[in-house]
C-alpha cells in the first residue's frame, strides 16, 4: 500500500518529516518497504510552453520547437514525439538536468539542429509504465494549461509528495486504506482524525428500486448494496484524482474506473460498476455458480466456473460477474455506457480466496475481501463513490439505495486485567497509561479497579481476544521500552539425546577422516530418488512440483552427492571427498507418510591427498573408502561389522562393492560407482558408501573394557599362502582365528601378490601371526604345533599351499 503523506494530511494533522514518519510506522505498526518521492533524483525539469513547431528539414519524424521555459529567451528543442502539439504546456528537461535512471540531459545537436533540452514523457521522468494513462503511453505528457512556464513540474504532477510504501501484514488489513492508516497514525501520535463524509443528493427522478431488483444469499454476501447513477459521461478524471491514483501505483483510466479505485484506496472498500443497460431482466442475484456455467471476464477469458463454489452476480442471462474478483465482459462499463449500477458488498472471505486462487485472479479487491473490510463504511463508501461519479461524469443519482443484504456491524467487547498485561509483557504499566493507549486507538474503555472492559469498533476487526489487546498495548507503548530478561524458572541443563549425539559424532568422525560435509537437496527427480536404495520403497512425490528436477523425496543420499561431485568436476575441481548426513524417505505403498531414516553417505573421487613437493599423491580406491567406513564403524562402537561382496546393486561396480552386515542385518554398502552411472554424471571413477545410521544408533555397542597387557614376550610367524584367486581373505582370517590355537593373538595380512611368479588363477596372501600367553613365556615348540595344525587346516579347506 503506497501511502501519500499529502493525502494523509487531509485526515490527520501530522507535521512530521516523512522519513521519521516511516520509521515510526515501521517500529509501531507495519513494515515499510520504502519512503520516497517520485521527484527523487530528478533535476531541472520544468513546465514549458510550446510556442511553435516546424518539421526538421532532415527528418521525417522530428520537429523543431520553440519552447518558453520562463526565461528571457525561448529554447529551441528537437522533439520526436508523435503526439506533439503547439500551444500546449509540456514537461521540459533543461540542459544540465537529470531525468529518470540518472540520465543527464545536455545541449546537443540533432541532425544539424541545436536542441537545448528535451520534451519528456512521464516514463522519461520516472513514472512506472503501469501508471501512465493510456493516452500518454506512447508520447509526451501535456500539463494543464494554467501551468506556469519555468515552474518546476513536480507539484503539478504530485511528484513532490512523500510516499510511504507499506508492507501490510495479513492481520492489519485495516491499514489497506488511507482512512485506516490515518486512524492508526492518529493513535500513534495521539491526534484526532477528521474524515469527510459524503452528502448524498439524489437528483434523478427515478427510484432505484423501480430500475433494478437485487437479491442475495446473505451467507455469500452479508452485505450487498447497489446505487444507480444516470446520464454519466465517461471521460478522463481531473488531475487531482489522477495524481492520487498514480502516486498509489494505480493507472488512471476514466472517471468511473478511477473513482472506484480511489474509493478502494480511501476506504478499503472494493466496488464494482455494471453497465445498467446490459443487465438482463433488470435483476441481479448473488448466488453460487451453477453446473456448467461459464463467464467471459473483463480480461476476455472464457472461464469455467466451479459449480457450488464460486460466488457469482447473475442476471437473467446467467453469471454477470465473478464476485469480488473480476467483472464479466457482457455487463462491463464501456464508452457507450450512460447508466452505472454501482455495487458495494462484503463477500464470504474464504470463498473469495478460493476463487482468486483457482482462477488466478488476485487483485487489490480480492485481497481486501479475503482479509476483511470495515463493515461500518460499506454504505458510506458507496455513497461517496456514487456522488463522485455523478460529479465527475455530470450524472445524477437515482433515489434510494438497494439493499439485498445488510449486516449490522457489531462492536466487540474484550475484557482484560492490568495484571495479565504486565505479566505477559514483563512491564509495570499503570491503569492510566493502559487506558490512555486504548483511548488513543479509538477503543471505548471502562475501568473497574484494574480490570478493563474494552469496546472495539468494526474498523479494527482484527482484535477479538485479550492477546490482541496486549499486542496493541505493547506496540503503542513501544517495544524499545520493554525490559530484557531471561526466563527464571529452575534451570535443568539441556543435553542431546543419544541419537542426536551419535549423529553429531558421525559428522565429526567423517570430518576428521578428511571428508567435507555436504548438504544436498532433499527433493530430487524420480529416477535419482530411486537409485542406490537399501530397501524396497514406494516413492513420495509432490503433487504440484515447481520443476522436473525436484519432484520426489530422496531415498538415498548418494545421488545428491554424485550431483555435487559432478558440479565440482565440471568446474575443474577434480579431487572431491564429501559426506552427507540426513534423512531418506521410505514409504510403504499403503502409507501416506514416509518413514524418515537417518543415513550417512560419502562420495570420493580423484586424489585423497594431492601430491606435494614432499610426497606423491594418494589416490582414492575401494580400500581408502572402505578404510573410512571401518574407521567410522569402529569409532561408533560397531566392531562386528562384516563386509561381503555385494554384486546386486544396479548402480555399483559388481566386482568392487561390499555389502555391510551387522549380524544378519544389512546396514549399508561401500564400493565403486558403476562406470555407466559415472559416465552419465561425466565423472571419473568415484567411490561411495551409504550407511543406515538409524541401525547403527540402535545396534548394541561393545562395552569398552580394560584388557591386561601380557608381560611375556610374543612369538611371531610369517607365512605366505598360495590360493585360488576366488578365495577371500576374510575366509582365511576366520580360519586362522577358528583353528589357530589358544595362544594366537592376532593375524595380520601384510602382502597380497598376483603376477608372474604365481600360477594363473592363483594369488599369494602373506600373514603375520602373533602368539602370546598371558601367564608364561611361550616355547617355540608350543607355537610350532599350533602353527602347523592351522596350516594343515587351511590346506584342507582352501587348498592353501605354503610358499
Amino acid at each position: 500500500m503506497k501511502v501519500s503523506t499529502k493525502w494523509l494530511q487531509d485526515y490527520v494533522d501530522l507535521k512530521i518529516d516523512p522519513a521519521q514518519l516511516a520509521e515510526k510506522i515501521e517500529r509501531t505498526a507495519v513494515e515499510v518497504d520504502e519512503e520516497y518521492r517520485l521527484a527523487d533524483g530528478l533535476k531541472k525539469i520544468v513546465v514549458g510552453y510550446v510556442q511553435s513547431k516546424k518539421p526538421h528539414p532532415d527528418s521525417d519524424h522530428l520537429n523543431i520547437c520553440q519552447v518558453d521555459v520562463g526565461q528571457e529567451k525561448s529554447l529551441q528543442i528537437i522533439c520526436g514525439a508523435p503526439n506533439l502539439e503547439a500551444d500546449r504546456k509540456v514537461i521540459v528537461a533543461l540542459p544540465g538536468s537529470r531525468i529518470a535512471d540518472n540520465v543527464k540531459i545536455k545541449r546537443s545537436k540533432m541532425r544539424g539542429e541545436v536542441s537545448e533540452g528535451m520534451i519528456c514523457s512521464l516514463q522519461e521522468i520516472g513514472f512506472a509504465e503501469s501508471v501512465v494513462p493510456k493516452e500518454f503511453a506512447n508520447g509526451i505528457y501535456f500539463l494543464p494549461n494554467n501551468a506556469q512556464p519555468g515552474d518546476s513540474v513536480y507539484s503539478y504532477l504530485g511528484m513532490d509528495e512523500a510516499i510511504i510504501d507499506l508492507d501490510v501484514t495479513p492481520n492489519r488489513a485495516d491499514m489497506l486504506s488511507m482512512r485506516g492508516t490515518a486512524t492508526e497514525l492518529a493513535a500513534i501520535y495521539d491526534k484526532p482524525v477528521h474524515f469527510s463524509h459524503p452528502q448524498v443528493t439524489e437528483t434523478a427522478a427515478e427510484k432505484t428500486s423501480d430500475l433494478l431488483q437485487v437479491t442475495a444469499d446473505s451467507t455469500l454476501a452479508p452485505t450487498y448494496l447497489i446505487r444507480i447513477i444516470k446520464n454519466v459521461t465517461l471521460k478522463a478524471s481531473p488531475l487531482w484524482l489522477q495524481k492520487r491514483l498514480w502516486n498509489a501505483g494505480v493507472r488512471p483510466i476514466n472517471n468511473v474506473v478511477d473513482v472506484t479505485n480511489y474509493i478502494l484506496l480511501d476506504y478499503g472498500q472494493p466496488l464494482h460498476s455494471f453497465d445498467y443497460d446490459q443487465i438482463a431482466g433488470k435483476h441481479l442475484n448473488v448466488r453460487l455458480a451453477h453446473d456448467g456455467e461459464t463467464l467471459q471476464t473483463l480480461d476476455e477469458q472464457e472461464r469455467q466456473l466451479r459449480p457450488g463454489k464460486d460466488i457469482v452476480i447473475a442476471d437473467q442471462q446467467g453469471a454477470a460477474a465473478l464476485a469480488g474478483t473480476m467483472g464479466g465482459l457482457r455487463t462491463a462499463v464501456s464508452d457507450q455506457t450512460t447508466t452505472i449500477a454501482l455495487e458495494a458488498a462484503v463477500f464470504d472471505a474464504t470463498r473469495i480466496r478460493q476463487t482468486a486462487r483457482r482462477h488466478k485472479l488476485h487483485s487489490e479487491a480480492s485481497t481486501r475481501f479475503e482479509r476483511g473490510i470495515n463493515q461500518k463504511t460499506v454504505a458510506e463508501a458507496l455513497d461517496a463513490a456514487a456522488m463522485l461519479i455523478a460529479e465527475l461524469g455530470d450524472g445524477q443519482l437515482t433515489k434510494g439505495i438497494l439493499k439485498a443484504a445488510l449486516a449490522e456491524p457489531q462492536d466487540v467487547t474484550v475484557k482484560i486485567s492490568l495484571d495479565k498485561i504486565n505479566q505477559v509483557l514483563g512491564t509495570n504499566l499503570s491503569v492510566a497509561s493502559v487506558k490512555d493507549i486504548f483511548q488513543r486507538l479509538g477503543f471505548q474503555v471502562t475501568v473497574a479497579a484494574t480490570d478493563f472492559t474494552v469496546v472495539i469498533p468494526p474498523s479494527r476487526w482484527d482484535i477479538s481476544i485479550p492477546a490482541d489487546l496486549i499486542e496493541e498495548v505493547a506496540r503503542i507503548y513501544g517495544y524499545d521500552n520493554l525490559p530484557a530478561t531471561l526466563p527464571t524458572s529452575v534451570l535443568t541443563p539441556g543435553h542431546y539425546t543419544y541419537q542426536q549425539r551419535v549423529i553429531r559424532q558421525t559428522r565429526q568422525l567423517l570430518e576428521s577422516a578428511g571428508l567435507d560435509q555436504a548438504i544436498s537437496y532433499g527433493l530430487t527427480n524420480n529416477k535419482k530418488a530411486q537409485r542406490f536404495m537399501m530397501e524396497p520403497s514406494a516413492v513420495t512425490e509432490l503433487s504440484f512440483p515447481m520443476s522436473s528436477d525436484r519432484t520426489t523425496a530422496r531415498m538415498n543420499l548418494i545421488s545428491g552427492l554424485l550431483d555435487d561431485v559432478a558440479y565440482n568436476v565440471a568446474r575443474k575441481v577434480e579431487n572431491v571427498a564429501l559426506y552427507e548426513e540426513g534423512r531418506v524417505f521410505y514409504r510403504q505403498a499403503d502409507q501416506v507418510r514416509p518413514r524418515e531414516v537417518e543415513h550417512v553417505a560419502g562420495a570420493l573421487t580423484g586424489e585423497f591427498t594431492p601430491s606435494t613437493w614432499h610426497e606423491p599423491s594418494n589416490g582414492i580406491d575401494f580400500f581408502t573408502t572402505k578404510g573410512i567406513v571401518e574407521f567410522l564403524l569402529k569409532s561408533l562402537g560397531i566392531s562386528q561389522a562384516c563386509f561381503v561382496r555385494g554384486d546386486s546393486h544396479e548402480e555399483m561396480h559388481p566386482g568392487r562393492t561390499a555389502d555391510i552386515y551387522l549380524g544378519e542385518q544389512f546396514i549399508g554398502f561401500v564400493g565403486e560407482v558403476h562406470p555407466a552411472v559415472c559416465q552419465e554424471y561425466r565423472i571419473k571413477r568415484t567411490y561411495v558408501f551409504e550407511l543406515d545410521l538409524q541401525q547403527i544408533i540402535e545396534a548394541p555397542k561393545q562395552a569398552e573394557l580394560y584388557h591386561p597387557i601380557s608381560k611375556y614376550p610374543a612369538i611371531t610367524r610369517d607365512v605366505a599362502l598360495a590360493v585360488d584367486q576366488t578365495i577371500e581373505n576374510a575366509a582365511i582370517i576366520n580360519c586362522f582365528y577358528d583353528h589357530g590355537g589358544k595362544y594366537l593373538r592376532s593375524v595380520q595380512l601384510f602382502d597380497v601378490y598376483q603376477g608372474k611368479k604365481m600360477a594363473a588363477n592363483k594369488k599369494s596372501l602373506a600373514y603375520k601371526l602373533t602368539y602370546q600367553a598371558q601367564d608364561a613365556t611361550l616355547a617355540d615348540e608350543q607355537v610350532n604345533q599350533d602353527f602347523e595344525r592351522v596350516l594343515g587346516r587351511l590346506e584342507a579347506e582352501f587348498g592353501a599351499v605354503v610358499r
Binding site: T169, A467, S520
Partner: protein, 348 residues
C-alpha cells in the same frame, strides 16, 4: 741424554702431533702408537732397569705423568674432532625451513551446520532440549495446530509443496513444537525446546530464494514467561552469532501462531549502526521473527492459556550464514563446491 729428557722430548713431539690430528682414525692410531705395549713410553720405561735403584721411583713417576698428560691430550683432541665433525654433519643436514609443511587432511563441517551447532550449544546451555521431527508433515501440525486453518489468508505467506491434501513438505520447523507441546508433561517442569532442521517452500531457486533451507525455531512455555524474557533471549542469540556488542530492536509483525508478533533487527555487525551496504544504510538488519505464543496454539495443544504462556522464535541459519560471511547467493549452500565448503574451516 737421560731418560727424563727423552720423555720430555717425546712429550713435546707427541703433543704437537696430537694437536694437528683431524680425524678420529688418526687419533686412535696415535693412541695405539704412543701408549701401546710397543710404544716409545713403554720402551723408555724398559730402560729404567739400567738405572740405579734410588733413581727409579723418580723417573717412574715422571714417566707416568707424561703418559697421563698424553692420554688427556688425546681424549681432548678426540672430543674436539667429534664436535667438529658433528657440526659439519648437521650443517650438511640443513633444510629450507620455509618449504611448506605436509598438509593434514581433515574435512570441514558445512557452514550452515556450524551456525546450527552454535545455536544449539547456546540453548543447551540455557536448559533447552533439541527436538527433531519429520520433514514430511501433516497439514494438521504444520498449519492447523499453528493457528493457520485451511484458507487462512496468511497461508499465502508460505507457498507449500503438497504430497496429498493432508501431507506436505514442512514449511517451518514449528510442527515439531506442536508435536512436543501435545506430549509435554508440565508437572515435570516447563518446556524449553529448539527444533532445528530442513524446511521446504514452493519457490523458484535464485540468488535469494531456495526451495530448501534451514530453520531453528525455539519455544518456551511456563507459568510466568514474559515478552521481556523473549527480548533478553533474542539478544543472547544475536550476540552469540553476530558478536557481543550487538543490540536488538523489535518491530511489530504478524505470525498466526504468536500474538504479539515481532520482527527482530540486530544492529549492523559490519558498520556498528552507522549505515552501510549490508544494512542498506539503516544500521539494522532483520534477522528473525518471534512473539508470545498465541492462546489458540496453546489451547489446541491441550495447554490452558489462562495458566501457561510462553514465547516462540524462528530464525534461518541460511540467512545468518549469508549475512555473517557475506555469501550473496543462497544456492551456494546446496551446490557443495569444495572450494566454497573449505573456506569455512576455522574452528572456535
Amino acid at each position: 741424554m737421560n731418560l727424563q729428557n727423552k720423555l720430555t722430548d717425546l712429550k713435546r713431539q707427541a703433543l704437537s702431533e696430537i694437536e694437528q690430528t683431524e680425524t678420529p682414525d688418526k687419533i686412535n692410531e696415535i693412541r695405539v702408537h704412543l701408549l701401546g705395549k710397543k710404544g716409545p713410553i713403554t720402551e723408555i720405561l724398559r730402560g729404567m732397569r739400567e738405572l740405579p735403584k734410588e733413581q727409579r721411583p723418580e723417573v717412574g713417576s715422571f714417566a707416568n705423568k707424561v703418559r697421563d698428560e698424553l692420554t688427556n691430550a688425546i681424549d681432548e683432541q678426540k672430543e674436539k674432532i667429534e664436535t667438529l665433525l658433528t657440526a659439519k654433519r648437521l650443517e650438511n643436514e640443513a633444510i629450507d625451513v620455509t618449504l611448506p609443511g605436509v598438509p593434514v587432511k581433515t574435512g570441514t563441517p558445512h557452514i550452515i551446520m556450524q551456525v546450527i551447532d552454535q545455536i544449539e550449544k547456546l540453548f543447551l546451555g540455557m536448559g533447552y532440549q533439541v527436538v527433531d521431527g519429520p520433514e514430511v508433515e501433516e497439514d494438521h501440525y504444520n498449519f492447523e495446530m499453528m493457528n493457520l486453518p485451511k484458507d487462512h489468508p496468511a497461508r499465502d505467506m508460505q507457498d507449500t509443496f503438497y504430497i496429498t491434501d493432508q501431507i506436505l513438505m514442512r514449511t517451518q520447523t514449528s510442527p515439531v513444537q506442536a508435536r512436543t507441546m501435545e506430549k509435554h508433561d508440565f508437572s515435570q517442569g516447563p518446556l524449553r525446546m529448539i527444533s532445528p532442521g530442513k524446511v521446504y517452500r514452493r519457490d523458484t531457486d535464485d540468488a535469494t530464494h531456495s526451495h530448501q533451507f534451514h530453520q531453528v525455531e525455539g519455544l518456551v512455555i511456563d507459568k510466568h514467561i514474559t515478552m521481556a524474557d523473549l527480548k533478553g533471549t533474542l539478544a543472547k542469540i544475536a550476540q552469540t552469532i553476530f558478536g557481543e556488542e550487538r543490540e536488538i530492536r523489535l518491530r511489530p509483525s504478524y505470525f498466526p501462531f504468536t500474538e504479539p508478533s515481532v520482527e527482530v533487527d540486530v544492529s549492523c555487525f559490519k558498520c556498528g549502526g552507522k549505515g552501510c551496504q549490508v544494512c542498506k544504510q539503516t544500521g539494522w538488519i532483520e534477522v528473525l521473527g518471534a512473539g508470545m505464543v498465541h492462546p489458540n496454539v496453546l489451547k489446541m495443544a491441550g495447554i490452558d492459556p489462562e495458566v501457561y504462556g510462553g514465547f516462540a522464535f524462528g530464525l534461518g541459519p541460511d540467512r545468518f550464514a549469508m549475512l555473517k560471511y557475506g555469501v550473496d547467493d543462497i544456492r551456494e549452500f546446496y551446490l557443495n563446491d569444495v572450494r566454497f565448503l573449505e573456506q569455512f574451516s576455522q574452528k572456535g
